[in-house]
């Protein structure tokens, strides 16, 4: 009865295509046989996919990005889980304020955050180091983890904790034996979102690293700014395919 109009459906379809267009457009360029970015002129090659495996450039950056993303997503998830459970258990009067505080990095323009983090790392001498980058990423991605965990906790029956306490469990026991197992999907979601966000983080990263520590987004950025290396197209295609696969797999599960 609703959502069946023809015109609306057509426009929605067009909007959907608009969203997919740039992702599809990249694909042919990754197969060009030429050294520079161009449509494959009847000649296809995988040379730019091979180039990704250069241990000095692309592969090194993939390694750095993976390391930073794993570290910062685990730290962010742990901090967010502790914070979320603390809020859920204690319901402090300052709860709204505290949640606002930890969500700040989403609202504040990324450049402003970047300037602040640049200032911090410059003061403590961690500019352009892996620990400095991890710290910056944790700050930037922790709000996403907090949102995922607060969402999972809001669906959790408060009486579960009371029931555990009533049955003789201490507060720590009830957190470990009851709360954490019941928000495990929220924990996983928080970790996954922060992993992706850290893997893709570009704005702050460009400010606080770039000479010794070069993440994958930073390398792509440099390539886009200087010359258009078709390896960027190859990397993009791999990332697009991986994302599409994960989304389709998740859809088919549910």
């Amino acid at each position: 009865m609703f959502g069946k109009s023809r015109l609306g459906g057509f426009l929605a379809g067009a909007s959907g295509l608009f969203l997919l267009l740039p992702l599809v457009a990249v694909i042919p360029f990754s197969f060009t046989a030429k050294r520079f970015l161009s449509m494959p002129d009847g000649e296809y090659s995988l040379r730019h996919y091979v180039a990704i495996f250069d241990p000095d450039t692309w592969l090194a950056s993939i390694g750095t990005s993976t390391l930073v993303a794993l570290l910062s997503s685990v730290i962010a998830t742990a901090l967010a889980a502790a914070f979320g459970i603390g809020i859920w258990l204690r319901r402090p009067a300052s709860g709204r304020f505290l949640i606002g505080l930890v969500l700040l990095p989403i609202i504040v323009p990324p450049v402003t955050s970047a300037v602040a983090l640049y200032f911090l790392l410059a003061q403590i001498g961690l500019l352009d180091t892996v620990p400095g980058l991890v710290l910056s990423h944790v700050v930037m991605i922790v709000p996403f983890a907090v949102i995922a965990i607060l969402g999972a906790l809001s669906r959790l029956d408060r009486n579960l904790e009371l029931a555990a306490r009533n049955l003789g469990a201490s507060q720590m026991q009830s957190i470990i034996m009851v709360i954490l197992p019941n928000i495990r999907f929220g924990l996983f979601a928080a970790w996954f979102v922060s992993l992706v966000m850290s893997w893709e983080e570009s704005s702050v990263t460009l400010f606080v690293s770039g000479v010794n520590v070069i993440t994958l987004p930073k390398r792509i950025w440099d390539n886009l700014r200087l010359d258009l290396d078709p390896a960027v197209a190859a990397i993009s295609v791999i990332m697009i395919l991986a994302t599409t696969l994960v989304i389709l797999l998740r859809k088919s599960e549910t």
Binding site: M1, F2, G3, K4, G8, L11, A12, S15, G16, F18, L19, L20, L21, P22, L23, V26, L79, A80, F83, G86, I87, L89, R90, R91, P92, A93, L101, L104, P105, V108, P109, P110, T112, S113, V115, A116, Y118, F119, L120, V142, L162, S170, Q171, M172, I175, E200, S202, S203, F207, P217, I220, L224, R225, V232, S236, I240, T243, I247, L248, K251
Partner: protein
Amino acid sequence: MMRAQSTPVRRYAATGSLAMLWALPVILTLAYVLPFAGVTLWSVTRPELGLQNYVRIFTGADFQAIFFRTAWVCLVSTAITIPIAYLLAYYWVMGSGRRSRLVEICIFIPFWISVLVRAFGWVVILRNNGLASDVANAFGLGGLSTGRNVWSVITGMVHFMVPFAVLPMASVMRKIDRRVLLAALGLGCRPLGVFWRIYLPMSLPGVFSALAMTFIFSLGFFVTPMILGGGRVVLTAETVFVQMFQTANWGLGAALGVVLLVAVFAILWLSQRVMRIEQLMSR
């Protein structure tokens, strides 16, 4: 009885939960809020003590042009983003099974893909001698200018914003009770009338939050304009980058960051005011 919710357990709560609660806020205060105070300090101390950085920002014709361009680009891209996102949100929530799943995939694939990759996709399409000009040439529209200009930047920004704008709208639409729509039909309203008189007003809160979000996000936009504008469409955020790293003008960069933050909070405050007024007005 509302307050009844807020006190139980407290007296018996272990200190463990207190430490859990405060760990993150303390870390963020130390690693984020305090450094921001330092940035504010930089903006009035570098290169020397005084407000000259702010004076420069608000009086310099170059900066005024940048601010004006930023506001214009934000407004236009928000104005394009909202209707597209509304349409997609509507079909995602209300569409029949297959249509809804297709829309969902269209929203979420770009959502999860790096902003750099998405900008790169548009570079491929829009640059001089890119796909778009090839197509234009094929249709005999040779002179169509694509490449690095303000419309490229807006295209890329809209593309980035749409999936974000869909989410708050869809979450409000999902809460609309379908029986309310049936009730309107039953009272003699035609389906299109039901949309205008019932569905749209009920989904407005979602539109407002999407509006505020889109505008705030686009204010801070940085990567997309730099890649798609290629230095020809300089917006405020990019200026921060340039001042910090290309001209090493730290004080000016810091001051611009502060100005951006103030602008964002002003918009947030305004949008909350609007929401409240909207709630008070009885239609």
